[in-house]
């Protein structure tokens, strides 16, 4: 079956095409970008795109400043030398944001649930949660990283970790949990109150209703904005370089300074772009799968 841009869009909507989700979705996206419609308009789109980028490319490459720019940012030899070193250090960034993401998921959920507790008894908890989000959404991330990363190890207190990177992870967790808590809360509030009523009418406690009925639906709805925040967190793992910790950005800086060339930064930028794209596709796929399973023709 032709799943290309000219294919009937109905298959993607009804989900009849069970099992070909990502491919169908990709086709759908492609058709949106090129303007959709019949085969002829696709060819027009392809041709005009090719012409546009060829002309733009030629203009850039023939401009008088191009050789200087090429040598400073796109030096092949420097790239080949720098890329493996930076990629190796990027493992540290992955560890930093990987740990922070898990902690963020837990802490943010806790704060979101605290914020949605009803009744006057829980006023202090609600207040605490509100103060937390206000504080950590208000302070620049790099400031929190600096405060904890420089400050806490310097205290020299017993039982307090001396490692700056540990405190950097704590800082990133605190900041991003504030954002993600708001995302969770929006998800919780988007679930119609009748769902809570139905769960409570079955004799479930508030906590049980939250855990089995409200949160599973809320979390599903907020996966895309949640992933946006995670991509932000992944990028902000570069802030740890500020503490002098040799992660990928610091490594790129070192190589750049040695070669007097900015290509290492471009190499790192490339790594960041490459890791975020599959995540965006994964979310698309998760959403499509969920819709297909619930309303479409997928079998369970």
């Amino acid at each position: 079956m032709d799943r290309g841009p000219g294919a009937e869009p109905r298959s993607a909507v009804t989900g009849r095409a069970a099992g070909e989700g990502p491919a169908a979705l990709a086709g759908d996206r492609r058709s949106r970008i090129v303007g959709g419609g019949e085969g002829r308009s696709v060819w027009v789109a392809v041709a005009s795109t090719a012409v546009f980028f060829t002309v733009a490319g030629v203009l850039v490459v023939t401009s008088p400043g191009w050789p200087a720019i090429r040598d400073a940012f796109f030096d092949g030899a420097v790239f080949r030398d720098a890329f493996p070193k930076i990629l190796a250090r990027f493992g540290r960034n992955v560890a930093i944001f990987g740990i922070a993401e898990v902690l963020v998921l837990v802490l943010a959920l806790l704060i979101a649930v605290m914020k949605s507790l009803p009744g006057p008894v829980f006023a202090p908890l609600r207040l605490l949660a509100a103060a937390y989000t206000d504080l950590f959404r208000g302070v620049p991330t790099i400031l929190v990283v600096a405060l904890l990363g420089f400050g806490m190890p310097a205290l020299g207190l017993r039982g307090v970790p001396r490692s700056d990177v540990v405190w950097a992870i704590v800082a990133l967790t605190l900041v991003y949990a504030a954002y993600v808590a708001e995302v969770y809360r929006a998800g919780i509030e988007s679930i119609h109150p009748s769902q809570m009523a139905a769960a409570r009418s079955l004799g479930l406690s508030r906590g049980q209703a939250m855990r089995h009925v409200i949160l599973p639906q809320a979390v599903r709805r907020v996966i895309p904005p949640l992933l946006n925040d995670f991509i932000g967190l992944q990028k902000d793992s570069a802030l740890v370089a500020f503490l002098g910790y040799t992660e990928a950005l610091r490594q790129a800086q070192i190589v750049s300074a040695a070669d007097f060339d900015f290509t290492p930064f471009v190499a790192l930028a490339l790594i960041y772009v490459v890791i975020t794209i599959p995540q965006a596709r994964l979310v698309d796929w998760l959403i499509a799968r969920d819709q297909r399973r619930r309303a479409g023709g997928g079998t369970t």
């Binding site: 009748s194 769902q195 009523a197 139905a198 769960a199 409570r200 009418s201 079955l202 004799g203 479930l204 406690s205 049980q208 089995h212 009925v213 599973p216 639906q217 599903r220 399973r293 619930r294 309303a295 369970t300």
Partner: protein, 248 residues
């Protein structure tokens, strides 16, 4: 006959709006009582109050001899004995039909999963939904969804069932299949309090009909009398409007 539900002087306001004014009503075990009346007359609120989904402002609600509106009552325990079915079904969209039915028994009553599923399958079979066990609610018709919602309430094995205009959100051709379920339950002796606009059904199934008007029970009696010779002028006018609308 022993008493299932007793309401004494129940009052409820939303802000300045008085929705229930001094409702007193006793329902016997195995009795089927229909609440009729215009939209906004307080039918739904009354049902939600009995299920303790809305706190009442004054009066008492006694279910099987236990005052449920008193202090220190565990509302979750009360709700396990009193099932409610809503106009808009309120099924859990992220769960299969089977899981919709077993959630209450498993989490609220502590029934082991296997037994809960066995009982749920038996219930679904009894109401002609055996082939929907694995489906998600969004893929069912409105009538099927409402039947699932009824079986979900029944899965808790309640003493009393409250039905809140359960056919109002359905296309006309789907109403019969839902009402048939209720007829079967009535024949089986289930105690039910039913808010409904289906007068033909009320006349059919109810032992007693209560006409609610502006938060009061204005008139009640056996359906034969209420529908043919209402004593109150307002009841008569309501029924005339219903007949004019072709709903009876």
């Amino acid at each position: 006959m022993s008493e299932a539900i007793r309401l004494e002087g129940v009052r409820k306001s939303f802000g300045r709006l008085e929705v229930l004014r001094d409702i007193t009503l006793t329902i016997a075990e195995h009795e089927v009582v229909c609440l009729i009346g215009a939209s906004g007359s307080g039918k739904s609120t009354l049902l939600r109050c009995i299920n303790l989904l809305e706190p009442i402002d004054a009066g008492r609600i006694v279910i099987h001899g236990v005052e449920v509106t008193g202090r220190g009552v565990d509302v979750d325990v009360v709700r396990r004995r009193v099932g409610i079915v809503f106009q808009s079904f309120n099924l859990f969209p992220h769960m299969r039909v089977l899981d919709n039915l077993t959630l209450g028994p498993r989490k609220a009553l502590g029934v082991p999963r296997e037994r809960a599923e066995e009982e749920a399958r038996a219930l679904l079979e009894r109401f002609g939904l055996a082939d929907k066990v694995e489906e998600y609610p969004d893929r069912l018709s409105g009538g099927q969804q409402q039947r699932v919602a009824i079986t979900r309430a029944l899965a808790m094995n309640p003493d009393v069932l409250l039905l809140d205009e359960i056919t109002s959100a359905l296309d006309p051709e789907l109403i019969a299949e839902v009402l048939d379920v209720i007829r079967e339950l009535a024949a089986g002796g289930m105690t039910m309090l039913i808010a409904t606009h289906e007068m033909g059904f009320a006349r059919d199934v109810a032992h007693r009909v209560c006409f609610l008007d502006e938060g009061r029970i204005l008139e009640q009696g056996p359906p034969g009398r209420i529908f043919t010779e209402p004593r109150e002028e307002r009841t008569r006018r309501f029924l005339d409007r219903i007949i004019a609308a072709g709903r009876m």
